[in-house]
């Protein structure tokens, strides 16, 4: 078994390379994805090895990236589109929501758009405005799209390949603040036997409070769980991984044991993923709940200036504060 220590970014790069090797119809499109290798170097070296017909530097227009990728998909290609930053996806929003998401439906199943839209998302890197947003709710709300996000190098390596292999259009959110974090990656395990793309995973078992999270907040919640354990509280942390569709089988089972649930995400709370999670848990676990489902999220402000983002973003202390409050009912 070839297990290597890779950063999350390098794991994505390696997964993309595998996909390009395995299927000649897979292409990568985006701004600066070629010679530069992307502003985060996620496509580093790929144009050099696969050519500029497979790794395409596009003009600087996001709607054009997605719209032309639709046409390429209709012709049988499997485009992977890179949107450079979360806050730059909105010019492509119409193509994503009205075209990519609906093409299969409108065509009565005759056309598929096997597209992956990669978006580095979330804050925590001290960036200027439009570079730290968490737009997942917009996409998760859209029928016809699937939305996934990875939280560690192993998942990054496997999930990007699974997303590319899927015929569904998938928004693939990459936690940019975690790009440089390292982990063990099994490079040889066959994709067909991998953990399913749209399944959540319990990343730390516990008995007292269920913590539901995803993407960049998984690590934050694991750190909170470690701290809570020192105080004698065992948090069960679930990495949702798939935001649409949601896989809440493990969450329901967990909450029925713990009676308490906290949802943690960077995106603002209003009408966000946390609201959906709270509603569904309430529907399915009503008689088990000892407290309302609480949310720890970014605030309902535009993403603030970088020097205050640490206060904006959920952190270990805010997670533990919410955990404490679930015992206050």
């Amino acid at each position: 078994m070839a297990t290597e220590t890779l950063t999350l970014g390098k794991a994505l790069n390696t997964g993309l390379r595998r996909a390009l090797e395995n299927d000649p119809k897979v292409i990568i499109m985006g701004e600066d994805v070629g010679k530069l290798g992307g502003v985060f170097r996620i496509t580093d070296g790929l144009q050099k090895d696969f050519g500029d017909q497979r790794v395409i530097d596009t003009p600087l227009a996001e709607s054009g990236i997605i719209g032309t990728a639709v046409g390429l998909a209709i012709r049988g290609y499997r485009p992977i589109c890179e949107i450079q930053f979360d806050g730059f996806v909105y010019p492509a929003y119409d193509q994503i929501v009205s075209q990519v998401a609906k093409m299969h439906y409108r065509s009565g199943g005759r056309l598929s758009i096997p597209m992956v839209i990669r978006i580095p998302y979330g804050g925590g890197i001290g960036a200027v405005e439009h570079h730290s947003e968490s737009p997942e709710a917009y996409f998760a709300h859209t029928a016809g799209l699937k939305v996934v996000t990875c939280a560690n190098p192993q998942d990054a390596y496997v999930m990007i390949q699974q997303a590319i292999a899927s015929d569904d259009p998938i928004v693939f959110l990459e936690p940019k603040r975690r790009y440089w974090e390292k982990g063990q990656v099994d490079l040889d395990a066959p994709l067909s036997e991998a953990y399913p793309l749209h399944s959540a995973r319990v990343v730390r078992p516990g008995t007292d409070v269920t913590v539901l999270t995803y993407g960049p907040m998984v690590r934050t919640c694991l750190e909170a769980a470690t701290a809570a354990a020192e105080d004698g509280r065992e948090l069960e942390v679930i990495d949702l991984r798939s935001l649409s569709p949601l896989d809440l089988t493990a969450a329901y089972e967990s909450v029925q044991r713990t009676g308490r649930a906290v949802v943690v995400h960077e995106a603002p709370s209003n009408i966000g993923l946390g609201a959906e999670l709270a509603a569904r848990i309430t529907e399915k676990c009503f008689y088990s709940l000892e407290s309302p489902v609480l949310r720890v999220t970014g605030f309902d402000t535009p993403y603030p200036a970088a020097r205050v983002e640490e206060e904006y973003l959920p952190d270990l202390d805010r997670v533990l504060d919410a955990v404490d409050r679930t015992f206050g009912w």
Binding site: S63, G64, G71, I74, D94, G109, G144, S166
Partner: protein, 391 residues
């Protein structure tokens, strides 16, 4: 066309000696058949491109038949909407020549990306004309197979399809399907209003820098619902192409012969690897934007009358009569065919069943979704709860 390849065009730096300007006197408007039915042998554009067609009598009659049929079927659809059988209809009235001319210029392997008004092109692609009526009746979302007929689904979001066409054309190049006579090309249809859209301008950029084998076919019908052309542009639309680095040409969109010639030339240039071009088919929307629109609120009758005199079908009929290519029996037979087909269309529309409600859950995802499975099951149980009740 019935057979063969009648649309011979040549690209030449020399002005063709026998060519003459169109009756409009506008050297920038390609015209091969005047509104009076006078045939212009060829047209040489300022860039030296010569446009001509060389149809057989049978092919001329075929074009006339196409024009009459698509107008009649379109009128039937408008009538069906007025009688409550369709939710909406976007009539092509007045634009038949631009659509039949360009539609017949497509070769089998070429791929078209329509708006929601290209019923004439759809007809030329061999798609059953009832197909779009399902969409406008609200019983389905379209219905034809885009890859089988090389004609994508209708696109209602203005201009979005021009990017799809551009990507598809990039794929043609990537597949190595250009550079020969049997190479492939794509064509993107859109209107004058769409030229203001970001997507259309992005498509121009993309097609240009990737040298995509693509024809941008803009039917300038003078109005974007109520807004006249002056609200979209201060330069003639075909001239915009120059700024993006590819040729643009304006054709009399009410002239089926010229529309055919310029489209065939542009497609052949594209399939031979010469990149994109823009055609502005100068025409007029004789009817309303859709059946929900009232054009008397924003345009005057005299303007409509002036365009009535440039009718795309009248001039072909005049030409066929003058040249004795067709006789009264032929015209009567075409009218009878059109009547028959429109009655048939009507009967079939009225017979279109409503879909089973539960089918709304189908085809959201190629791989399905547990959320939808759950909702479908809940909905089915809910519907079944009414069985045996008075409702």
């Amino acid at each position: 066309m019935a057979k063969g390849d009648p649309g011979g065009t040549t690209r030449s730096r020399r002005a063709a000696p026998r060519s003459k300007k169109g009756a409009t006197g506008d050297p920038e408007l390609v015209q091969l058949l005047t509104p009076d039915g006078e045939r212009i042998e060829s047209h040489t554009s300022p860039d030296g491109t010569e446009y001509r067609v060389d149809f057989t009598d049978e092919e001329y009659r075929g074009l006339y038949r196409d024009l009459v049929l698509v107008r009649k079927l379109d009128a039937e659809a408008t009538a069906l909407q007025r009688q409550g059988e369709l939710g909406l209809w976007a009539s092509l009235l007045g634009q038949e020549a631009a659509q039949v001319g360009s539609g017949r210029a497509l070769r089998t392997q070429d791929m078209a990306f329509p708006t929601y008004r290209e019923h004439g092109v759809l007809y030329c692609r061999g798609i059953d004309p009832i197909m779009p009526l399902g969409l406008f009746r609200g019983v389905d979302q379209g219905g034809w197979d885009p890859n089988e007929f090389k004609f994508n689904m209708y696109t209602i979001v203005i201009g979005a399809q021009t990017l799809h066409a551009t990507g598809y054309a990039m794929g043609i190049t990537m597949d190595g399907k250009t550079g020969t006579d049997d190479g492939e090309a794509a064509i993107a249809y859109f209107g004058d209003g769409a030229t203001s859209q970001g997507d259309v301008n992005e498509a121009f950029v993309w097609a240009s820098v990737f040298n995509a084998p693509l024809v941008f076919f803009c039917q300038n019908n003078q109005y974007a619902i109520s807004e006249p052309l002056e609200r979209q542009t201060r330069v003639p639309l075909y001239q915009r192409a120059a700024g993006f680095g590819f040729p643009g040409v304006r054709v009399d969109g009410n002239d089926v012969l010229a529309s055919y010639a310029v489209t065939r030339t542009a497609l052949d240039n594209a399939r031979h690897g010469q990149g994109p071009s823009l055609i502005e088919a100068y025409t007029y929307r004789m009817g309303a934007h859709t059946t929900s629109d009232d054009p008397t609120r924003y345009r005057i009758a005299s303007e409509v009358e002036a365009w009535q005199a440039k009718d795309p079908i009248t001039r072909v009929k005049a030409f066929l009569e003058k040249q004795q290519i067709a006789d009264a029996d032929f015209f009567a037979e075409v009218d009878e065919q059109a009547r028959r087909e429109s009655v048939h269309l009507r009967e079939r529309v009225l017979d279109m069943p409503n879909p089973e409600p539960v089918t709304m859950f189908d085809h959201v995802y190629p791989n399905g979704s547990p959320l939808l499975d759950e909702q479908r099951a809940q909905f089915t149980r809910y519907m079944e709860s009414f069985e045996g009740s008075a409702h």
